[in-house]
Symmetry: C2
Subunit: 571 residues, 2 copies
């Protein structure tokens, strides 16, 4: 790692090198040497800084901001009451359009440098943002700090590096001699040489529609990719999780202002309760890039209705686990129990459908029937979550009625293997914390399991055989989406067949690993998360066009100076 002072340029160079070579580079997670002291101080004061924001107006200095709107409540039961400036959508779009020419003119390298400065400033405020995430998403504090601050910053940095590499891949200055030779009629003077310039032209205004559960982790890649490719950005947070993105916007505006740029390159679009501004912004003709993580349904709505824009909609699908055989039964159960529990099953790698041949699976402890497996999994969950403080640290709190409804509904769909039960948080008695629900289904219950269920809901599904499991996986993933699959098998033939099925379905595959690798996925490309070829999944973070769809290259050319001199002399 770097030693010495906070050298943002060097950070950018290293990130670009890593992006080009495909190497892993996670400086924020590993800790920036120069900022350790500052951060240590920050960790202590962050709680106080966070509390000082509560019940106050959040200041951004945005155009047309009149009223303050507050829509957040803490799943841990404390009162938040932060009021955000609300501007009319047209005012924010207008301000973004006016900021565009200056931002475009800054060029990719300058924009990337400023983006890295924003990331470093966000890094300094990691603990404040972690508090904001903890009290809006319900994530445990450690999770919020690691995934929502540090990993999100590394993902942002990776997006900056890829955006800079992609937008400087074609040289800005060109010289060509193409006109010298002409196949058609030759009767006229033609220039022998041409100078050309090639400019990265952003698509237009970029809209980030924030999600309620991982607003920074899901949001930063698109946010920084759009900024570096020259698109001014409007951040429309989810009404339940405004503060983490509001702090991000505040830092970005501050960096822009101090660097002499129009701060309206980045604005926040807070909304009144139930106002539903996302569709209004998404269909504005000036909005040309949209990032969204969430329901398949709204993703499809965006594709259908926001036709003027490049839509990067990452749908939340149902992830599959294929059980065939294992040589580490206990460990596999522990890891699976953790995957089902982490962040109340809201992480993007949380498994939902566990396909188990009804004849059972071969393990290092002998053959386990599906009934035995179900009982053992339930016990592993109970063991993991036995101690309330530790359980709260894994599960986090539930802030959404959607999850409560999902739990209640799913329990009626089959035989309950593990019932969801409340956990009392030692410090926050009002927090709603629930253990995972596991329900046993049959293969023919496809109308139940072939869609995403919110929260810690999973199904143990009895299939005829591993090859039947494969058919179900391939079909449901291709039709209904899904981001990750896990297979447990000691048989190379099975692993090979699952690999092919995962390619057919366009789903990332973990073999004999726990599904809960989410916590360590800090990078967009190095550690693809949410890549999709499945239907409904029109975009992906692992998709190179995630960057390239945000800009075009436009060329201007003119006679090279020496040629121009000659023609002037002729005249």
């Amino acid at each position: 790692m770097r030693t010495g002072s906070f050298e943002e340029r060097s950070l950018l160079e290293q990130a670009v090198q890593a992006a080009v070579s495909g190497a892993s580079f996670t400086p924020f997670t590993e800790g920036l040497a120069g900022s350790v002291d500052r951060r240590r101080g920050a960790a202590h004061s962050a709680g106080a800084v966070f509390r000082s924001m509560l019940g106050q107006d959040f200041c951004l200095g945005q155009p047309g901001a009149r009223q303050g709107v507050g829509t957040e409540s803490s799943p841990y039961g404390i009162s938040l009451g932060v009021r955000y400036p609300r501007s009319e959508p047209g005012e924010l779009v207008g301000a973004a359009v006016r900021a565009m020419a200056g931002w475009r003119a800054a060029g990719p390298r300058r924009r990337a440098e400023l983006a890295v400065e924003v990331l470093c400033r966000l890094h300094d405020r990691s603990h404040e943002i972690a508090h904001a995430l903890h009290h809006t998403t319900g994530q445990a504090y450690a999770t919020a700090h690691r995934a929502g601050s540090l990993h999100a910053q590394d993902r942002g940095l990776e997006a900056v590096a890829h955006a800079l590499a992609a937008s400087t891949r074609t040289p800005a200055d060109m010289y060509g001699e193409r006109l010298a030779e002409r196949g058609g009629p030759r009767q006229m003077d033609v220039p022998l040489g041409m100078d050309g310039t090639c400019t990265v032209v952003p698509r237009g205004v970029s809209l980030l529609i924030g999600c309620p559960d991982f607003p920074t982790w899901n949001g930063y890649p698109g946010l920084f990719a759009s900024l570096v490719t020259g698109n001014p950005l409007i951040v429309k947070p989810h009404p339940r999780a405004v503060l983490p993105l509001a702090l991000t916007v505040q830092v970005a505006r501050d960096v822009l202002r101090k660097a002499g740029h129009d701060p309206n390159v980045v604005t926040l679009a807070a909304e009144k309760p139930g106002e539903q501004l996302a569709p209004r912004f998404a269909t504005d003709p000036e909005v040309r890039v949209i990032d969204f993580t969430g329901s398949v349904r709204f993703g499809e709505w965006l594709h259908r209705n926001a036709r003027q824009a490049s839509v990067y909609a990452t749908p939340i699908g149902a992830n599959t686990v294929l059980m065939d055989s294992t040589d580490g039964y206990r460990r596999m159960l522990r890891e699976l129990a953790l995957s089902l529990s982490l962040c109340s099953g809201q992480s993007c790698t949380a498994p939902q459908n566990i396909l188990v041949p009804s004849g059972g699976i071969r393990t290092d402890e002998g053959r386990k029937t599906i009934g035995r497996f179900s009982v053992d999994l339930s016990r592993a969950v109970k063991r993991l979550l036995a101690e309330p403080r530790r359980a709260a640290g894994i599960l986090g709190a539930i802030g959404s009625d959607r999850i409560r409804t999902s739990l209640a509904h799913a329990a009626g769909c089959g035989v309950v293997v593990h019932a969801s039960s409340p956990v009392a948080h030692p410090d926050h008695p009002a927090a709603d914390i629930r253990t995972p629900l596991i329900v046993r289904l049959e293969a023919h219950d496809e109308q139940v399991y072939a869609r995403e269920w919110a929260g810690p809901v999973s199904f143990v599904i009895a299939t005829e055989s591993t090859s039947h499991s494969l058919d179900i996986f391939r079909r449901t993933a291709r039709r209904h989406g899904g981001q990750f699959a896990t297979v447990h098998s000691t048989d190379p033939l099975v692993l090979g067949a699952v690999e092919i099925a995962a390619l057919d379905a366009g789903v990332h595959l973990s073999e004999n690993l726990a599904g809960s690798v989410f916590m360590d996925q800090s990078a967009v490309y190095g550690d693809f998360c949410a890549a999709e070829v499945s239907p409904g999944a029109h975009t992906a973070l692992a998709d190179p066009s995630f960057i390239t769809g945000r800009f075009r290259l436009v060329q201007a050319r003119r006679p090279a100076v020496r040629v121009h001199d000659i023609s002037a002399a002729e005249a």
Copy 2:
């Protein structure tokens, strides 16, 4: 250039190097040293080979081909009568889907090597394809050979190189140690290292909707980009210009078959007269990539209805010339006359709207009023096309009633500056050859000039000033598309202002060059053609996502072998 034998691998390496460095590389236009003798023979025999195909069944060996369909007629009046196999769309899509897994498994490098082999084989048959283009599109033979064979091959090669570079940018094999550190609970064994593979997964079946005027030049970039990124391809030619693409498909299938691949990776979808198969193919759920060059209207239809696919629709828009001042009046007039005439105004750089301040323009021959300029331009056209054989060589023949209608209609829209008149072709008395029509309009006639007119139709439009011209250019290009603009000015301030306006409109700009650079645009990226940020222009050849939208990267990972050994030992 290369000497020695036909080294396709070396050609591929050089092309990739050029693609990465942004250098110009046009080996087919410059002539492959190893193939000169073969081509010389081919040039002599190509006419006979072409004639031998007339009135015959065109053999492709495609699945489900029952009837022969023929829809072509030569604009030069000779009888063609080639009958192509017609299969049901479902049969072709099914065959493409079945070919997909094998083609995906071949990997990017092998696919690129085969694509280069196809290009070299097409290069050997350049003269045959030129005959086919000449007698279907109506292009003059020299134009057809140079643009439709050689330049198209260079564009195809550039697409191969960019596709290979883009799909191998992320290493196929990865090793990571991300799981070693875990922010959450630490109670369990986690693998220390992981092996990963990253696979280029094609989107699905790719559809090329051929255009009637430049089927190979417009078609090859998408065709080869799709092939190299692993998408099986269905080529649906325009019913008026089937043979050039049928020959291309025949060569590709032959190369695939000989290399042991399923030839149905590339098939031809010929259609009966008036059958309109394009919408049926475009909305097939298996079709995931669509390339189309043509009307703004059908491009928008595709975006609205083929939502399952990456749609690369390059609309034909109205190109603008801004007249301000020049130090080479005569030369400028000659070049402009050529631009208006070439290929009957069907080339993608053909100017349509010539914006001239009504106060006139400053030139090296004194101030020229708009009336004087119009007369001089008309004379330049007459001089260029005075001799019938030369005129026929520049204009080519008109094969479409759409152009005849366009000419008739446009003549009634304003004062005719230069009337379109017939030219008698010395060898082909039946050929319909027409000189360009130039009509004088006022700035307020926007409903006339703000759309694309087919064929050699252009307008001299009187504006209040150069800055008024700029406003009109910016507005019409942003609203109605357009691919190229040209400005003639000796004033650096004007040139600077036009450059900014072109970036705003997302249109490529030529400064003090003739618009007719089409003939020498052999490369997709090096010589961007048809790049667009304008509305209705959702794609572009200059758009990096032209390649990246055709595939996704899908990851599989597993414990690294040494880690797996350890866990096996634990069990």
